[in-house]
Amino acid sequence: MSYFDQKVPPKREDRLKAVIAHQDSICGLAKRCEGKGGKSCLIDDGERGFTQGSICLLLPALAMLNTLPDNVVLLHSALGCGSCTHSQNANVRVGSAVRQGKARDGIWLSTALDETDVISGGEPKLEQAIIEADRRYRPATIAIVAGCVPGIIGDDIDGVAQKLQTQVSAKLLPVHCEGFKTKIWATAYDAVYHTIGRNLLEERGVTDPKPEEALAVLREQEREARTVNLMNVSSMGRVDEQELERLLTALGLEVNVFPVFSHPDSFVKATRAALSISTCPTHDDYFLGYLQERFDVPSIIRHMPIGIANTSLWLRDVAAVFGAEEQVERLIAVEEAELREALEEFRPLFQGKRVFISAGEFRALATANLLQEIGFEVVGIRSFHHDEFADEEYGKLAKEAKTDYVVDIANVQPFEEANLLNRLKPDLFLGHANGNMTAAKLGIPTHVIYNTGLAYIGYRGAYEIARRLHRQLKNPAYNRNLAANLWLPYTENWYGAEPFSYLNTRGRAENE
């Protein structure tokens, strides 16, 4: 039975054995992962006895859902869940401005479950909310997103959606984001893809065309044979999409970017493409498996097109599917030559500078690769989780590593990072959104490794990252001033302690 036949998608700790608490080194991980042949992760997950807050799957799920045009997000939870949309809305505004020509605010609603609802159940309120949202906004879709509260009091959002579907004009999309149920927030992508797969994908191809339409149908089929789905769950801004469209178009392909900012009506295209291409295995494996299984759309899910070599590897895989091997080599040769020449300007400032990188696993590793390519020495990596998809990436990095540097698998946990950075004293730090404050207050030059407005992807992205890092390093006074006048909230004892002191101590006091 397909996962998609279930109401709730599996969590990634079960499906992929993904882990969030582990201490290792680049060579250690490369060795563990080598030759495993894509079996699920062989590392047992740890637990920390001290933890800091991070995010839950609700946040990335909303980052996707809020971009969908003509969609209303209805949060079924306590009042605060989903308030993160206040920052995500900036991406919705900019993203719709560059794609559709007009800045548009997302519309999100909350059933704001209160004490009475917690006792008597929230389903009646949810039903009324769905009906009123449908009448007030007349959206194409309403995403009904469950947070922790309904997960504990037992509200059945799928049952409510099923009951009301015939009474409303919007398509109802139940999404399961009960935060306490999974510690791997990348389950968010599965949660959103799950509802897309169950509710929005229909085969609507013409099977028996009238004679006068036959030519048009044939032309459309020809087009589809060269159409690829380029998966974007919101980690690429328009500028990054454009770079990959440029490269894929050069191979004669037509690109269907999916699913962010895609109108629900256009989702049918995704089921008829010749190929789906992921830019990040952390995001898409669950859905691409489904497209293959149900619609026979094959996919490529390997390599992230960040960095020079990685971009070329990514392109070669795509070209091979369409028999364009020679064409792609010519393209790569020209692109790489132009880029390498352009990067020369920046190399002297980068050469030998030591860098620490922190982000989602695949992005951290691919970016580490790029930084090595442009002259930096990687001295540490913190990945938000680990799963099998990144196995090959550790090998790539270990080959180039000057020393066997630390790899911290941690769902953020800046206390470990503060300790590590204080020891390693790198010259540069790249961290995720909300992930640069530790390094910044330690006075280390920082740069955001993920921001949907900036360019990161492909050859253009490699150049733009280098250009931005060059700018950061030319005058790092801002962070230096912070460090001279502020301090992080950690005790002196903590800086003296071993950085992984709290790994695998959870529950120990009680067991002893």
Binding site: F50, T51, Q52, G53, S54, I55, C56, L57, L59, L74, S77, A78, L79, G80, S83, C84, H86, S87, Q88, N89, A90, D105, I107, W108, L109, S110, T111, A112, L113, E115, V118, Q128, A129, E132, Y137, C148, V149, I152, I153, G179, F180, K181, K183, N411, V412, F415, N434, G435, M437, L488, P489, Y490, T491, E492, N493, W494, Y502, R506, G507, A509
Partner: protein, 447 residues
């Protein structure tokens, strides 16, 4: 306003407000007993709503959190909390640790006080507050933290000290201008010789907060936020409280000083002399604007959209100080009847006698409907008394409304996504000047 949902809520849950409030205390360290995502949700919310201010000394993703999982939901989370507190005291250097609960531990029935009191008994500076998200919004979370301080942190039985007051009612991060607004209100009180404990400014300290019971008066510059904590303060520490609106601009500041003076029996001649001096300064600074004010015809109709503090305070500044015409005032909080009545009483009492139309509406997309009902649109008449020239003062969610009615716009009330705010504030006489600058700058931005 829907009875079944809130559109784009302009607040977080009580835990979100409580966590922000604790991070704003000097040396304050929140310890969340909640699911892992709550801290990140707050950080992202502040990023988008608080004028680019996220966290502080121990905020954002630095916040210690027990990160409850299914295991704790099944077996209870008290032991996990005990472990987290013990380790937090080792790793995080704080002056006051405050355990705050989210929805999950409350629904499963964890007793945090049983755990917190063990650490208190050992002398750790730690208190707890029950702030589960389903209990209310972030403004209530602020109140709950003040209540916890009043109950478990403030020293009891201190003798009252003449001239000492506490200042409450400005909610950190929920008011993006909280730092400046606290400073401005504090400055007003200092003008008349009072010693002010404002809890959240750089000059406040935990030591002064512990001794807050010495105050002879609590001044709450809000009809809503901090009211319950002020009531409990009076019960426990016998300090009465005075509720006043957020004093934005000269008219409100003048009344503020007079009310405080009366409540504390300050020498009225002295208070009047200070008011006269401050007003003179205000108008001296305003004086050179007079030509352009007239030449550019800077009077405006206005729509004001704001929280329980700003809706009234901004409207009053526009009406009584700037001589603008706010025809519609929208308060976006979910309020009890008596709270609504309090705000309605305020807008009925402007010194210029001008009356706005006050409505209570949480949902941004409904504001235009309220305006259209109040001021019907043109129906093709040759002569039509239009709602214009107009201005929209609200949050960044009101940008769409401003575009729809062709008016300039200024974000003041949460969410403020499109301004960088550090210590700008609108309270006091000088705050009025800041607000006039910002409003008029938006009018002439294309000049």
């Amino acid at each position: 306003m829907s009875e079944h949902f809130v559109e784009r809520p302009r607040f977080l849950c009580s835990l979100g407000g409580a966590a922000a409030t604790v991070t704003a205390l000097p040396g304050g360290v929140p310890i969340l007993h909640s699911a892992s995502g709550c801290a990140g949700n707050f950080a992202w919310t502040q990023n988008g709503g608080s004028g680019l201010q996220v966290g502080g000394y121990c905020g954002s993703l630095t916040v210690p959190s027990s990160n409850m999982q299914e295991n704790e939901v099944v077996f209870g989370g008290e032991e996990r909390l005990r472990e987290q507190i013990k380790n937090t005291l080792e790793v995080i250097d704080g002056g006051l640790y405050v355990v705050l609960t989210g929805c999950v531990p409350e629904m499963i029935g964890d007793d945090i006080f049983a755990v917190v009191n063990d650490f208190r008994d050992e002398g750790a500076p730690i208190i707890g507050a029950i702030t589960g998200g389903f209990r209310g919004n972030s403004y209530w979370g602020y109140d709950l933290v003040l209540q916890a301080l009043v109950k478990d942190y403030l020293e009891r039985g201190l003798p009252k000290v003449k001239g000492k007051v506490n200042l409450w009612g400005v909610v950190p991060y929920m008011d993006p201008f909280w730092r400046g607004n606290l400073e401005g209100a504090r400055h007003l009180l200092e003008l008349v010789g009072l010693e002010v404990n404002s809890f959240f400014t750089p000059v406040d300290s935990l030591e002064s907060i512990r001794r807050a019971g010495e105050a002879e008066l609590n001044i709450v510059v809000s009809d809503i936020y901090g009211q319950e904590a002020a009531r409990q303060f009076e019960d426990r520490h016998s300090t009465p409280y005075l509720t006043l609106p957020l004093p934005i601009g000269p008219s409100a500041s003048e009344e503020f000083l007079r009310s405080v003076g009366q409540a504390l029996d300050l020498e009225s001649d002295r208070v009047e002399a200070i008011i006269a001096r401050e007003k003179r300064h205000y108008y001296q600074i305003l004086e050179p604007l007079t030509d352009c004010w007239n030449d550019l015809d800077l009077q405006r109709y206005a729509v004001v959209v704001g929280d329980g503090n700003y809706a009234v305070a901004l409207t009053r500044f526009l009406v009584d100080d700037l001589g603008w015409l706010p025809e519609l005032t929208v308060c976006t909080d979910q309020l009890k009847d008596e709270e609504r009545e309090a705000l309605a009483g305020r807008v009925a009492d402007f010194s210029s006698g001008y009356r706005t139309n006050l409505v209570f509406e949480t949902d941004a997309s409904e504001v235009l409907g309220h305006l259209n009902r109040h001021w019907p649109r043109a129906k093709g008449e040759k002569y039509y008394n239009a709602f214009g020239p107009a201005f929209v003062v609200g949050s960044s969610l009101e940008r769409e409304l401003a575009i729809q009615i062709g008016a300039p716009h200024l974000s003041v009330s949460f969410p403020v996504a499109n301004r960088a705010v550090l210590d700008r504030g609108y309270t006091g006489f000088r705050g009025g000047l800041r607000l006039a600058e910002d409003l008029l700058s938006a009018v002439v931005v294309n000049r």
